[in-house]
Symmetry: C2
Subunit: 151 residues, 2 copies
DNA sequence: TGAAAGTAGTACGATATCGCACTAGATGGT
DNA sequence: ACCATCTAGTGCGATATCGTACTACTTTCA
C-alpha cells in the first residue's frame, strides 16, 4: 500500500506517469524531424494558427497552450526571428498585439508534417488508429478536468 | 485535409496534443503541492526508488525516466543537496555510482503523497478510476512503441 | 598483456520554462 | 473627469533540460 500501486490514488499516479513519459518521447520524436533550432512548441503554435486561424493575441495563445505568458512571448520571438509569424499592434487594444502567420510559417509547417509522415505511418502499423480514436474522448475529459481545476 | 484533423496522421497529432497538455497540467498540479524548490522530476525519482528499490546507478535511473544522463546527474545533485539520497561509489565498477534513499527522502515522498491525496480524491469523483484502469494498457502500448522506436 | 573501443559520469554552454515585478494602456465607479 | 483597479506584454533572474566534449574506468580482442 505505501507504494500506492494497488490503491485508487495509485491508478492516477500510473496514469500521469505513462502520460508524462509519452509526452516526453513523442516530443523527442517530433523534434528529431524538425529543422535545426526549431522545437515542438514552435511547431505547435504555427499548427494551432493554421488550424484555428491567426490574428489572435499572444495571451490567447498562451491560454490555448496552458503556458505562462512569458513563455509564449519567448516562443513568439523565436518564430518572428525565423520569419514564421508577423506581430502587429492590436488596433482594438493599445496594450495588446496580434500574431499573424506568414507564407514562410505555413511552408515550415507543411515541411514538418511531410517529414513526419513516415514516422506516423510506421506507428499506424503497430498502434491501431481506431484504438487511438477511442482513447481521445477519455483523454479529453481528463484534460478538461485538470484545466478546470488548476491551482 | 491540410489541417490533418480527419486524416490518419491527424489522429496521432490529436493524441500527442492531448497527452502533452495533460502532462503539463498534471505536472503543475503536482508541483503546487510539493515544498518550495522541489519539482515533479525530484519526486518521481524518489518515488521510483521506493517502488522498485534503490541502489541503482544514475544511468539506470536516466534510462528508466527516458532522460539524458546529464539531466539525471543534475536531478540527483538536487536530491543529494536536500539529503533525500546518498550517492556512493559502485564497488563493482569504478566508473559508476550507486544511489540510495535516505529516511529524509522517504519522508519527503510520504508527505508529498499525503498532500496530494485530496486532489486525487477530488479527481476520482469526476474521472472514474475504472476508466483510467482501462486506459492504461493502451497508453502503455503507445509508450512502449515510442520507446522502441526512438530516434 | 597491451591497445582499441566502449561506457559512466561530469563540466560547460545553449536554450526553454517560469515566477516576479514593472510599464503602458483599459476599465469601472464616483 | 479622476482615480483605483485590472489587464497585456516584457525584462530579468532562477532553474530545468539537453547536446557536446571530456575524463576515468572497463571490456574486448588480437
Amino acid at each position: 500500500m505505501p507504494d500506492g500501486s494497488k490503491t485508487t490514488p495509485g491508478v492516477y499516479f500510473a496514469l500521469f506517469n505513462e502520460i508524462g513519459i509519452i509526452a516526453q518521447l513523442s516530443r523527442a520524436l517530433f523534434e528529431a524531424r524538425l529543422p535545426d533550432g526549431l522545437l515542438t512548441p514552435h511547431f505547435s503554435v504555427i499548427n494551432h494558427m493554421v488550424r484555428l486561424g491567426d490574428g489572435k493575441t499572444p495571451l490567447d495563445l498562451a491560454r490555448a497552450f496552458q503556458v505562462p505568458k512569458t513563455t509564449m512571448t519567448h516562443s513568439l520571438s523565436i518564430l518572428e526571428k525565423h520569419g514564421f509569424v508577423r506581430i502587429t499592434k492590436n488596433p482594438d487594444d493599445g496594450r495588446s498585439k496580434c500574431v499573424f502567420l506568414t507564407d514562410t510559417g505555413r511552408a515550415f509547417r507543411e515541411d514538418a508534417i511531410r517529414l513526419l509522415g513516415p514516422d506516423l505511418a510506421a506507428m499506424a502499423s503497430e498502434i491501431d488508429a481506431e484504438d487511438v480514436v477511442s482513447l481521445l474522448p477519455h483523454l479529453e475529459a481528463i484534460r478538461k478536468y485538470l484545466d478546470a481545476n488548476r491551482p
